[in-house]
């Protein structure tokens, strides 16, 4: 029911058989209200890959995600599975790309079932109503995310972790193979952060999803990402596997932070240190 992406497996495999990358951004410039936010960003995400964009506040992470999601005018700079964004109609695009915003609006009085059902919007004729097939997809997604018992609950009454699962369910109901997650864990405690990211990773494996995320917690970001992109002042400052991006030198230069990076078998751990206390 959820479409599979072109070419299963990891990004490297997909790259070998020559499938177009899930996301290809070439020289993306974005100005908002005359202020340049992104100045020449290049980014490639292979199908099935998990890429996390990091960077200090104001670096343009959310803007990059919105541009890839088609919410900003960037007709030719962004290609999705080989097709320029500008060539896709909105509803076509919505079946391929799903976005979970940083803090999605929680409409008062809306039940979980109805919220997740909104994910079927790109399949419902503009003036029509949801079909039995749409309801079946939603029930399946709710079951998969263990949300069946929450169907009639008001979204506003759910906890942060539960809500995040509902937002993911809405994105999955869209049947999109490219998932854009803007700070999916910023409102969650450490346990729920892991819960949500594990869930995303498992769904990625099951459905061959491609994930492009932004995150602030560097250590946990490094644990889940295949590759990381460090965005600073509207440009890509570094890109590669976590151990190449999460270095003391890069982080201190672009975040102006005092950190210690400890390599572990899981990936680099980033520890903030207080300047002057630890010579």
């Amino acid at each position: 029911m959820i479409p599979t992406p072109p070419g299963p497996g990891t990004g490297t495999e997909a790259a070998k058989i020559g499938a177009p990358p899930a996301v290809e951004v070439r020289d993306l410039h974005v100005r908002l209200d005359g202020v340049p936010i992104l100045t020449g960003v290049d980014l490639t995400v292979a199908a099935g890959e998990w890429v996390t964009v990091i960077g200090p506040n104001g670096a343009g992470k959310s803007t990059l995600l919105r541009a890839v999601g088609g919410l900003l005018p960037a007709p030719d700079a962004v290609r999705i599975f080989g097709t320029p964004l500008g060539a896709l109609r909105r509803r076509e695009r919505a079946r391929v790309v799903a976005t979970v915003a940083q803090s999605p609006v929680v409409p008062p009085g809306m039940a979980v079932l109805d919220y997740v059902l909104l994910g079927r919007t790109p399949y419902i004729p503009p003036l029509g109503r949801e079909s039995a097939a749409d309801l079946a997809v939603v029930d399946e997604v709710l079951g998969r995310l263990d949300l069946i018992d929450f169907r009639t609950r008001e979204l506003a009454t759910l906890s942060g972790g539960e809500r995040q699962r509902v937002f993911l369910a809405r994105a999955l109901a869209q049947g999109a193979t490219l998932l854009l997650l803007d700070e999916p864990t910023s409102a969650l405690d450490i346990g729920h952060q892991q819960e949500v990211l594990e869930l995303v990773d498992r769904l990625r494996g099951q459905h061959g999803l491609t994930v492009l995320a932004t995150m602030h917690d560097l250590s946990i970001a490094g644990e889940y990402a295949d590759r990381m992109v460090l965005l600073a002042a509207g440009r890509v400052a570094a890109a590669g596997p976590p151990r190449e991006v999460l270095t003391e030198q890069l982080l201190s230069r672009h975040y102006r932070a005092h950190v210690k990076v400890i390599p572990t078998p899981h990936g680099p751990l980033v520890l903030p240190t207080r300047p002057g206390r630890h010579p």
Binding site: R91, R95, M110, L117, E140
Partner: protein, 364 residues
């Protein structure tokens, strides 16, 4: 969470839960309310007629129906030529105001939005004041022009909304719904100032202007109904067809955009339709307050928060509410009429408090 990590449980849920939508039960209640308002509105008045006979006489209006109601020729004329057009106008105007209010609340994601939010009231008020002070029969500068009050109100309303739109659009790409609301406030203040100035200079028209401002459903037969009906049809059609889109818009513009909608386009289409309907309602019956805000909220509290429920039911209950309010307005102090806007607020306020309290008790 470990349960959530189970691999692909594609079981059908044991209990079927239906998504939000208009239940037939509520649709029946709404249709019944309209029928009650119709019969009550036609039966009650200076000459009271038996509701049963009135119902039969109403059925006789249907093609092919010929029943004996026992009413005299004169009573039948009261029903079909005097009261029925007034009740129908009440149904149309009330339905339009409630529908437009519900649509505005959805479009702006603002529970306080009402149909007059974007300057309709101030625009119509100024235009009507201009006509009453300078125009028809006043011996003023415009008295030679064939400008009627309904036409002035209609043009004034749409002119004000257009000004609001142009002012709001000056915000450029980044304009938000809030920009438009602020533009509406500015335009309203500007036009109201003009109106106040005119009234100061022409104190003799204050009575006439105020009686128009407070709203009335007095009609000259079917003429007003014929004028409002086309706008009623266009507005209801456009707004009702977008009821699902309003639900999608409620999750935010970015989300709606990533779900394949064009939020800005839907928003302006809905604003245009709702403003057109409001302008038609205002031109026929003045500024009737409260219906546009109280009816959609009552429906929301009682029947559900989806716009697929709110909009169609607002149309029905708004019409029934205004038609019944009009009965009160023209009978309580007969033969005098109380301005209907006063009655909607006097009845609507306490009723809304009652609904609010009841709904809270039921929900908690």
């Amino acid at each position: 969470m470990h349960q959530a990590l189970k691999r692909g449980p594609s079981f059908p849920p044991a209990v079927i839960v239906r998504p939000a939508g208009l239940r037939k039960r509520w649709l029946a209640v709404g249709a019944f309310a309209v029928l009650v308002a119709l019969v009550a509105g036609v039966s009650l008045g200076p000459v009271s007629l038996p509701p049963g006979s009135v119902a039969i006489e109403l059925l006789n209006l249907l093609p092919g129906v010929r029943l004996d109601s026992g009413l005299t020729e004169r009573e039948i004329a009261i029903v079909t030529e005097l009261r029925l057009p007034r009740v129908v106008l009440g149904l149309l105007v009330g339905g339009l105001l409630a529908l437009a209010g519900g649509a505005y609340q959805g479009v702006f994601r603002n529970p306080l939005a009402d149909p007059y939010l974007l300057g309709v009231a101030a625009g119509a008020g100024l235009a009507v004041t201009v006509v009453l002070t300078l125009g028809v029969g006043s011996g003023g500068a415009l008295s030679g022009l064939p400008v009627t009050i309904p036409l002035a109100a209609f043009v004034g309303s749409l002119g004000a909304v257009t000004m609001t739109y142009l002012l709001g659009a000056a915000g450029g790409r980044s304009r938000s719904p809030a920009t438009l609301i602020l533009a509406g406030v500015a335009v309203s203040a500007f036009l109201s100032a003009g109106q106040t100035y005119l009234l100061q200079r022409h104190a003799e028209s204050i009575q006439a202007v105020y009686s128009w401002l407070l709203g009335r459903l007095a009609t000259a037969g079917w003429q007003d109904v014929r004028l409002v009906l086309p706008y009623f049809l266009v507005t209801s059609l456009v707004v009702l067809l977008h009821r699902r889109e309003l639900d999608v818009l409620s999750v935010g513009d970015d989300e709606a955009g990533s779900l394949g909608l064009h939020p800005q386009r839907s928003r302006y289409l809905l604003i245009a339709a709702a403003s057109l309907g409001t302008a038609a309602a205002v031109s026929a019956s003045g500024l009737i307050g409260f219906v546009g805000i109280i009816v959609p909220h009552t429906v929301r509290l009682l029947a559900g928060s989806s716009y697929r429920v709110i909009l169609p039911l607002s149309l029905l209950f708004g019409g029934a509410f205004l038609a019944l309010t009009d009965v009160v307005a023209r009978t309580v102090a007969a033969p005098q009429e109380i301005p209907i806007g006063v009655v909607t607020a006097l009845l609507g306020g306490p009723f809304f408090v009652l609904v609010l309290r009841t709904a809270r008790r039921v929900l908690t």
